[in-house]
Amino acid sequence: MMKTAELNKKQTAILQALGAQLEKPGMLYRLWVALLLVLILAGTYGLYRQILIGHVVTGMRDNVVWGYYIANFIYFIGVSYGAAMLAAILYYFKVPWGRPIVRIAALVAFITGIIGPVFILLCIGRFDRLHYLFIHARVQSPITWDVMVISTYLVGITVFTYLLLIKDFAILRDTSLLELSSWRRKLYTALSLRYKGTDEQEGQIDHSTKSMAFIMVPKVILAFAVLSWIFGMTLRPSWNSTIFGPAYVISSVAAGIGLIIGLMWVYRRLYGLEEYITGLHFRNMAFILVILVAAFGYFTFSEYITNWYSSGKWESAVTAKVLSFKEFGWAFHLANLFAIVLPIVIIAIPRFRTPNIIALLSLLLVVAMWVRRYLTVVPPLETPLLPVQDARPEFVHYSATWVEWALVLAGAATFFIFFTLAPKLISVIPISDYDKETR
């Protein structure tokens, strides 16, 4: 009998816990998917309006040329990089408690990595000139670096995620525990590459995955850096800062971990995976989160106190806007409270380190980090170095329109629909990783 067909107790238990998902969708599930599809349709209608009429249907204008789309782009792609980095490190160092997390992290990285770039495409006014990015590419331009880095990264994370899944595809192909439809069997057969679990095959897959994980870390740092340089290398107050890159890396990894914790919680509750995703996993992730969030708090403080103390004209203008309660003050302070202060204070208290509280903190952090992204993009754009005279108010102050809201929500809905569909196709807990358990 092939190794992929004979499962131990634990593997059988996982398969049985998740199998129901793979077999047949329920009513609530259908309703949820329908709701998400409606949101995506609304976004599609917004996109249709935007293509038909032009970017004038958005709140983006002459000065504030970027808004929700770019905020979403840097948010999603940052989360993707962060999740990829975590998955790669946990995998490479074979962190014992990391087994169930690697898969979820890789899925987050893969899915947000697909959604993120869609939002940069939404910023493009002339789709017919999209290929100019390649045929007129200038090696000197950070935009060119970003185009290269993101496409390279996407291929990398796809290969990495796939490598992580091959062994499970083989198990799903060979299992007799589940009644799978024939198209599924065919799909798993094709995707499992005739993997049978021989020592040689296993060694080769492990080696390839490990080498992908190894190269993932510098690649992700590079990708992070390039994206942040698009801002950092622009001579704009509060963008043109050397700490922009590190602060972006740290906060994105934190947001990525927040999302992973959220998904761990959802999958655990939904599929009864308490045995595999335990309180220990939540606590360990929370500790990583606290370290990152503390570093981000330090970077934030360092950035703003430097600007405040040196009183550069334009930097001060941006800082004043961000701190003023009449402008972005509430958003800024609340975001810092939820993204920095609360996680540190609450996780410091041992009795609060429960999966529920950690998941709630992560949810707040995920939203707060998005607000910080928005504050990265918009206030500096509202503070042009050349004062704008006689401009209409909507040119000076950005406010998103329903089209942008619709597309942002459609992006979030796409994210959720991917994560709703993922357990229908793959096992969210790596079954193959439990093969060394007692038979």
Binding site: Y45, Q140, L193, R194, Q204, W402
Partner: protein
């Protein structure tokens, strides 16, 4: 009719999509959600027209009609409006042509003076009309222009360069008129001097040395009588190779700003891409090999 119309509007998909979104987004701070796309019925704004004429070389006369309106407290040129130009006489209004206003709010039309009919005083009566639309009220303007011509000569004597403009109307010289001299720059004309015409209708200035020209040293020189009550604007042009030759920059050294990137940047870029993609290819190749081997082993 009106009621059924509004029901029809309510039933469009856009309406429902928006209503659904608003319901979902209730509570989110997005006042702009409501502001966008709500079409208000605007009142008509009064517009204002100013017509001017430029008499150029030979027979040419160019009409320029500027259409403006007071928007947010200041006059702004209106784009995309159709202006009709007429030459009215005692008996009928002859249409000369039409043009749409450009982004500055100016519509223009060139006609030949010989095709125009002068009135008893020897002047051309010219009129421009904007007929109004849903947003702006109609406006018009009328001017009288007496035919005049200007000649511009560029003379060089003992390395002194002089520009002489001669202004005439109906064969007689025009005296006591202020003529301005310009050279055309990349964007707008640069004034180099002004003079008043003498009894022979001549005005002259010395041409300054050291002005930059094109790669052959050519400079485009303009003499102009500006917005005169009787003649409107009258101008003459001449090209002279009196400028410094502009040296085209052939400096294509590698730099951040030139078309070829610094070598270190190019090498870093290529090296990184080659390492990462080479690595990908190796992993993907191994996967193919794994599958092939498994197939061979059965």
């Amino acid at each position: 009719m009106k009621r059924s119309n509004s029901i029809f509007r309510l039933l469009t998909f856009g309406y429902w999509a928006k209503a659904l979104l608003l319901a979902l987004l209730a509570g989110l701070p997005g006042s702009a959600l409501w502001a966008q796309e709500e079409e208000e019925e605007p009142e008509q704004i009064s517009s204002r027209m100013s017509l001017s004429a430029i008499q150029g070389d030979e027979d040419k006369l160019t009409l320029k009609a500027l259409v403006r309106a007071k928007i947010d407290g200041r006059f702004t040129g209106l784009q995309g409006l159709e202006v009709v130009f007429f030459s009215p006489s005692d008996t009928l209004e002859k249409e000369l042509g039409r043009d749409s206003t450009d982004m500055d709010g100016i519509a223009s039309l060139s006609v030949s003076k010989s095709a125009l009919q002068a009135d008893t005083g020897g002047a051309f009566i010219l009129k421009a009309v904007f007929e109004g639309n849903a947003l702006f009220e109609e406006s018009d303007d009328e001017i009288a222009v007496t035919a005049a011509g200007m000649a511009l000569e560029a003379m060089e004597e003992d390395s002194v360069r002089t520009l002489v403009a001669t202004l005439e109307s109906g064969g007689a010289p025009v005296a006591e008129a202020d003529v301005y001299f310009y050279v055309q720059g990349a964007f707008s004309p640069l004034k180099i001097g002004e003079a008043t015409t003498d009894e022979e209708g001549m005005a002259s200035v010395e041409f300054p040395a050291g002005l930059p020209g094109d790669p052959d040293g050519n400079i485009h020189i303009i003499a102009r009588l500006e917005e005169d009550e009787t003649f409107g604007t009258v101008e003459a042009n001449v090209n002279k190779a009196w400028g410094r030759k502009l040296e085209a920059s052939h400096n294509q050294s590698r730099a951040l700003w030139s078309s070829s990137p610094p070598l270190w940047l190019l090498l870093t870029f290529i090296t990184l891409l080659v390492i990462i993609w080479g690595h990908y290819l190796e992993v993907i190749y191994k996967l193919f090999r794994l599958r092939k081997k498994a197939a061979a082993e059965g």
